[in-house]
């Protein structure tokens, strides 16, 4: 040990003067110094064990004594036994379960059984439910399984052409594999930092150390990722980590039923677990649509390659985003080493008729829509609906203008204005929407709208009463300008066909149907009951009478 027993007992005595330790505690020196590692800056970790069953905060007391940093933890004997029993239960459930164990629990267990007893050895023995050999075996199994998972990850990434990911995963697998190997030889200290010392102490550790160091030091730029991964996996086999041989045929990609695909207009969107919406760029969408699931990975990759060079690299990102899973032969899942959710896209507006709007600074392969899925669907439906309603109100306004029905005209242009404002608000992600007549008053929540448009809306809101044809025409023109700005801002005018033609109208309805389909799946709020009716068709109301085209075609 780096510290003498006298020094340790001195630090303990000083520490006990500073903390409120219960009577009759057992005391253990644990951690790196107890293991015989450590250096001058290492913490001195004391564990106080109190008889009986109490709850104690997890956080240790941190003391500075005579130039040393001393940590004192207090735990009840029963609490320690419970933790050990839990670790033992999970270990008995199998390596797959053990790999998912709370690492902190496992660490507490191994530190306790491998610590140096300073006070009250009988009490410490009571707390040590697991024997030292049992803990070593559990730690070896734990590292074996995490190494296996990392190795499979490395193979997956190498096959998908993700060199850096593959090399990083292979390195992790190496280290975890070596940790498993040393744990088999009673070196069960959990942290990675003293691995070199552990290898030096382990019988026959020298040869393993050499091989490990050689593989670990190979730079990614110097090696062929596939070859490097194969070498690492082969070495793992030699260390006794089986079932991760470098054969990609053992891996298959698996669909996740809770990840669903929704084209909205021309853009493909993926909804993860009914919560997150990710929009896909053109190439990513192509890759996503081209994945063949449940076949050996090389077959999936070959098909992706046929569909377009480089498409395979998107699959690794889908895997990390948890849009799909991977399995090893026999069915064990290969969890990603780290899964994540990208930051919400900085897109303003957020929603267009054509789905999610890409961030202003360029279209990434995959981006997260900054709205929860059901609100996104509601906003899209509301946007489609508002645009249809603008057209509807315009028709009313034109009719009223022709017949100089000024009361009808005023109502119609107010509706046009209200729907244009609702379209703007919903495109920026405002949902639920304010009532039609209040929508013009709420435009202030959206920043960056043109000043002259806001002034125009304020003016119109105050007075839209026509007195004669000239005034009515001027009012309609002003409302049309607001509508145009709303459509420019919401990217609706970029939409392939404008609302001017019957064709465009129909196309808008069609895209509205895309939104309704997603909204129905997510059980989102519908803008009006008519939209919901699109889903309920085929019911009691009259339905489409099939033409005789079927008969004619036959």
């Amino acid at each position: 040990m780096i510290l003498s027993e006298d020094r340790i007992r001195y630090l303990l005595a000083e520490a006990l003067k500073l903390v409120d330790a219960p009577e009759g505690c057992g005391v253990v020196l644990e951690g790196s110094i107890a293991e015989g590692f450590g250096n001058e800056t290492s913490d001195v970790d004391f564990l106080l064990l109190e008889p009986g069953d109490h709850y104690h905060p997890t956080m240790p007391s941190i003391l500075f004594i005579d130039g040393a940093r001393v940590e004192v933890r207090l735990r009840a004997v029963e609490e320690a036994r419970r933790q050990a029993a839990e670790v033992s239960r999970v270990a008995q459930a199998g390596p797959g379960h053990l790999a998912g164990i709370d690492q902190w629990h496992l660490d507490r267990c191994q530190r306790l059984v491998r610590g140096l007893v300073l006070e009250n050895p009988e009490l410490v023995d009571q707390a040590r439910l697991l024997k030292r050999e049992e803990v070593s075996r559990i730690v070896a199994t734990y590292f074996g399984e995490v190494a296996r998972r990392s190795a499979r990850n490395a193979l997956l990434m190498a096959t998908l052409g993700e060199v850096d990911e593959a090399v990083a995963a292979a390195r992790a697998a190496l280290l975890q594999g070596v940790k498993s190997w040393v744990a088999e030889r009673d070196e069960a200290y959990l942290e990675y930092k003293w691995i070199r010392h552990q290898l030096e102490r382990a019988p026959d550790g020298h040869a393993v150390q050499e091989r490990f160091a050689a593989l670990d030091s190979k730079g990614a730029e110097l090696v062929d990722a596939g070859l490097y991964v194969a070498e690492c996996l082969q070495f793992l086999g030699e260390l006794g980590i089986d079932d991760c041989e470098p054969d990609a045929k053992s891996i298959s990609l698996v669909r996740d039923r809770e990840v669903t695909t929704w084209p909205l207009g021309s853009r493909v969107h993926v909804v993860r677990h009914r919560r997150d919406v990710m929009a896909l760029g053109e190439r990513a969408a192509r890759a996503w649509r081209s994945i063949v699931f449940d076949v050996p990975l090389p077959e999936s990759v070959a098909y992706l390659d046929e569909q377009g060079a480089g498409l395979r690299t998107h699959v690794g990102e889908f895997f990390r985003l948890r849009l799909l899973t991977a399995r090893w032969r026999g069915g064990a899942e290969i969890p990603p080493r780290s899964s994540y959710t990208p930051p919400p896209a900085a897109a303003r507006p957020v929603v267009s008729l054509d789905g999610a709007v890409a961030p202003a600074d360029g279209e990434p392969d995959v981006w997260l829509v900054p709205l929860p899925a059901d609100r996104f669907a509601s906003a899209g439906m509301a946007l489609s609906w508002a645009n249809l309603m603008i057209e509807n109100a315009r028709e009313d306004a034109m009719g009223a203008l022709g017949r100089e029905q000024w009361r009808v005209f005023e109502t119609a242009v107010r509706r046009m204005l209200g729907h244009a404002c609702r379209a703007l608000l919903t495109a920026y992600g405002v949902f639920p929407l304010p009532a039609l007549e209040e929508a013009p008053l709420r435009l202030g929540v959206v920043s960056g709208l043109p000043r002259d448009m806001l002034d125009s809306v304020a003016r119109l809101q105050r007075d839209m009463r026509p007195s004669d044809r000239e005034r009515a025409t001027a009012l309609l023109d002003e409302v049309e300008r607001v509508v145009q700005v709303a459509r420019d801002k919401t990217e609706t005018s970029l939409f392939p066909a404008s609302f001017a033609s019957a064709d465009g109208w129909r196309q808008t309805m069609e895209i509205g149907c895309d939104w309704v389909r997603l909204g129905a799946y997510l059980d989102s709020q519908f803008p009006v009951d008519e939209a919901r009716d699109l889903l309920a068709g085929g019911g009691p109301q009259p339905t489409f009478r099939t033409s005789d085209t079927a008969l004619a075609a036959a």
Partner: protein, 384 residues
């Protein structure tokens, strides 16, 4: 073997027919399978059914007889006809043209006249009438909506295609003969893969349209989300027909719907298709806004040839009541809508029928152009 035990099965090479043959044989019946040409009898699981050409099969054995439903005397030579007539105790008539879009005459010849020939065989006056189990279709209901009962047939309905019309006429012939001929009728709905595995040997009818739609060949169809498709697993259809044949005395005079537990709605289909990234889901447009003329030429072609034949299936909500079947069988198929649909899709993807579309015309052209340009580059390089 007594006359009462031997069963003649028409349409024995069909996906349903062969399953009926196998079940009857398993129940210990001598089975004569009427086949059109020398064909193997392949079970739905892909295995061959062992058959012989022995004129008088033993209990539990299957013997093939070559014949032609559309010909007088079932196309048999007089001696064979006589022998068969004296030997057979029951006919199961499952032969039919079931796929859509064929010429009207074909449906009339096979489905209507074929049934007439079978009825002639059963009651040709040469002996006591031979009882008949007639395999019809639930879609004799045509474009009716709402609850459809087993006792109903002619309710003044319109038909979506010649198939439905021909099966309606055939069933009418059987019902007309029922005064003098003991008969029972089984009406399967849309026959699909097996209830447990989703497996189907031959992807026909609904599978054809499903392939067209999920490959994105046709991207919009006039449809209602509430429209229903009644999908029935092949094993249940074969079980019902076989039970009706084996317990004919209880079944005689009745009609049985062999249908799914719950009809699948287009909403179910839409939600489940979203779970498969490689499968495209069509837009279900309200029929009043669907415009056939807006489809691009190639899409229009697919629409006319395939999808149009199923139009009514995507707009009608009908519910086939199967009370007689449930009472007779003592159960109903235990299937949940979405899991069953997933099983069918999973199987079709696994065997490569769905999910790996051939490249579209545009992709092929783009690929050719790319290859040509690469080729010319190579030629230049070689020339240099």
């Amino acid at each position: 073997v007594t006359r009462r035990e031997s069963v003649l099965v028409t349409g024995a090479t069909g996906v349903v027919g062969v399953e009926i043959v196998a079940r009857l044989a398993r129940a210990g019946r001598p089975v004569l399978a009427l086949i059109h040409r020398n064909q193997q009898l392949t079970l739905n699981n892909g295995r061959r059914l062992s058959t012989s050409s022995a004129p008088d099969p033993q209990a539990g054995a299957v013997s093939c007889v070559q014949g032609d439903l559309t010909q007088p005397g079932l196309g048999l030579d007089p001696a064979d006809y006589q022998r068969l007539r004296s030997q057979i105790g029951l006919v199961v008539h499952s032969a039919a043209v079931v796929d859509f879009g064929r010429p009207r005459e074909l449906y009339e010849t096979v489905n209507v006249e074929g049934t007439s020939r079978v009825l002639e065989f059963c009651q040709d006056g040469l002996g006591a009438p031979v009882p008949l189990v007639h395999v019809s279709t639930a879609y004799v209901a045509g474009q009716r909506r709402g609850a459809i009962y087993e006792r109903e047939l002619d309710e003044g309905q319109r038909f979506a295609n010649y198939y439905e019309e021909s099966k309606f006429q055939a069933e009418g012939l059987v019902r007309d003969a029922a005064g003098s001929l003991p008969a029972a009728i089984v009406r399967p709905s849309i026959v699909v893969g097996a209830s447990r595995s989703g497996a189907i040997r031959d992807f026909k009818v609904i599978y054809t349209v499903l392939k067209t739609l999920t490959e994105g060949r046709v991207r919009s169809i006039p449809a209602h989300y509430g429209a229903t498709l009644d999908l029935v697993p092949i094993d249940w259809v074969a079980d019902v027909v076989t039970s009706v044949a084996l317990r004919f005395n209880e079944a005689v005079g009745q009609t049985f719907h062999a249908v799914g537990t719950e009809a699948i709605t287009l909403r179910d289909l839409s939600d489940v298709l979203a779970e498969y990234p490689s499968l495209q889901a069509p837009r279900f447009l309200p029929p009043e806004i669907f415009d056939l003329d807006r489809l691009p030429p190639l899409e229009r072609k697919y629409y006319d040839r395939i999808v149009s034949l199923y139009e009514s299936y995507f707009t009608c909500r009908m519910s086939f009541r199967d009370d007689a079947t449930a009472k007779f069988m003592g159960s109903r198929p235990q299937l949940r809508r979405k899991p069953f649909l997933r099983r069918l899709l999973d199987y079709a993807i696994r065997v490569g029928f769905l999910g790996r579309p051939l490249p579209g015309v545009e992709e092929v052209l783009a690929d050719l152009a790319a290859k040509e340009s690469a080729g010319s580059t190579r030629a230049v390089a070689a020339g240099a």
